[in-house]
């Protein structure tokens, strides 16, 4: 994506970001896993949170989604969603693709997509069908396997199904938790190509990744999470060039 196209999408200065997180803290019992994290994601942007295993990335997303209790403020589309249960956040347009995919093993691919639109069940059937056909067009593999049980899919197909199911909910904000985890390198490349392509739909993406190189390449802005704190933040090109990031997150990896 060229720099001027990115500029054309930029929000006017001072506009409220789609997601604003202020001083979020999450604790498991007495052990605090995320300490006072603040971040923001502007509409239509891809924002990434990178960090090592155990840095609190998954915990952060689970708290944003309402799966874990947290302190601090989470504002989404101008609403303080703190008291909202998970289902209301989904209906409001926040959709999480979790690290463990959380598919329905004994249900078919087609059932997953139908249920993905559960929060949009009052929308006209034609609109839901159109949405489903878009998902099938984006993931031709899912179209081929539409009558297959989720449990029989390969790792990459499962990730595609989790993404497709999430897209059926017409998200304004897509929270992606380690979409490349456990996938073969070629499949990882496919997944990141798909994430980059989602930018065209106008959806805002918060991408949590261990694969810092790929995440920074696709994102507009990045945060580095270390032991539950934001250690660094900045435009992803600047982060990728930062010697501290390069040494800790990019140096050891083979491109």
């Amino acid at each position: 994506m060229s720099a001027d196209r990115r500029l054309a999408r930029a929000q006017p200065q001072g506009a409220e970001p789609l997601l604003r997180v202020d001083d979020l803290a999450v604790a498991y019992g007495n052990v605090e896993a995320v300490h006072g994290v603040s971040l923001a994601a502007d509409k239509g942007r891809i924002v990434t949170v990178i960090g090592r295993n155990g840095a609190g990335k998954t915990t952060l997303l689970a708290a944003l989604m309402g799966l874990l209790p947290s302190r601090g403020r989470v504002c989404f589309g101008g609403d303080d969603v703190g008291p909202w249960p998970v289902e209301r956040r989904v209906a409001g347009g926040m959709v999480l693709v979790p690290e463990r995919r959380e598919l329905f093993g004994t249900m078919t691919v087609a059932d997953h997509l139908e249920l993905g639109a559960f929060a949009r069940r009052r929308a006209p059937a034609a609109a839901r069908r159109r949405r489903r056909d878009e998902v099938y067009a984006r993931f031709p593999r899912l179209a081929e396997r539409r009558a297959q049980f989720a449990a029989t899919l390969s790792g990459g197909e499962r990730q595609m199904l989790a993404l497709g199911r999430a897209l059926m909910a017409e998200p304004a904000l897509l929270l992606l938790d380690e979409p490349s985890l456990g996938l073969a390198p070629l499949v990882v490349r496919d997944i990141f190509t798909i994430i980059a392509a989602l930018r065209e739909t106008g959806v805002t993406i918060l991408l949590v990744e261990q694969n810092a190189r790929a995440a920074l390449a696709v994102a507009d802005y990045g945060y580095v999470l270390e032991t539950g704190n934001v250690a660094l933040a900045g435009p992803s090109a600047a982060l990728a060039a930062d010697p501290r990031v390069a040494a800790a997150y990019l140096g050891g990896e083979r491109g």
């Binding site: 209906a91 959380e102 249920l115 559960f118």
Partner: protein
Amino acid sequence: MDAQIAALLAQDGFTNGAIYALLALALVLVFAVTRVIFVPSGELVSYGTLTLAALDAGKTPGMVKLLVGAAVLATVIEVVSTLRRREARRLLPRVLLWGGVPLAIAALVTWAAPLKPPLFAQVLLTLAAVGALGPLLYRIVYQPIADASVLVLLIVSVALHLVLAGLGLYFFGAEGSRTPAFASAQLAVGSMTFSAQSLFVVATSALAIVVLYVLFNRTLYGKALRATAVNRIGARLVGIAPDFAGTVTFTLAALLCAFCGVLIGPITTVYYDSGFLISLKGFVGAIIGGLVSYPLAAAGALFVGLIEAFASFYASAFKEVIVFTLIIPVLLWRSLTSHHHEEDE
């Protein structure tokens, strides 16, 4: 034993087995979606028969009082939790749903009882009144502890069973009741005779099973319940609230239990505490299906019905002993063949 007696026993076994099968399906459904072992299902069976018997006698069934009390309690709980969540906008629909609907059913039953409506209308009133208890019991008893362990949910179920049995004695008295047969004809096929009542029970049970199958495989809400049973977190992430799934499940289960009560009424005399033993037999069937498989649970329940029929011929004094002893080899076999699942959430 000659062939004719065997055929008669088999007919008996299939009739009871069909009813146990419906109960087994209700138990599997409730356990799969909410992890609750629904011990009070038996009381809802008794309530079903006894409510129908009261309506048939032109009396207002006492359980209407429970319906009113539960509706008021559930409405208060809903109002408080709605205000706490700052969702005042949704207050009115929730009050209408949790208070209005059950109170309307209670009023309708009270109004219609002395009019002695036809049997079919009595059955519908019974299903509405007992079915309405399902979601109310879930809202008041189970929803606040929905995340508790299976053991805690079981203990609460046993407590609820005792409470409902006690209330059943208070509402309906200690005398048993029988309801009139839906059909009294005898059908002769060759040397065999089938009672129309048996055929009616088997046919309506089969119909109920087909309806459930279509519901769970063809409709969005049925699929939502299945999804919740397969993966609770995954279901939440597509926007299926666990409370919603639990409420729908308990409504379906209560309707099934009430329907079993209606079906069994003309076959045996039902007392306020008879339901427990009946649902325990459904539970044996459900256990044969491992509390997860619907077809196995239904088949297991039919098997229980057949065993019971033949046991009552060979050793009628030991009929219950034989049926419940059956569960031991089944459990042994299951523990040897299936892998133990840790409860992971």
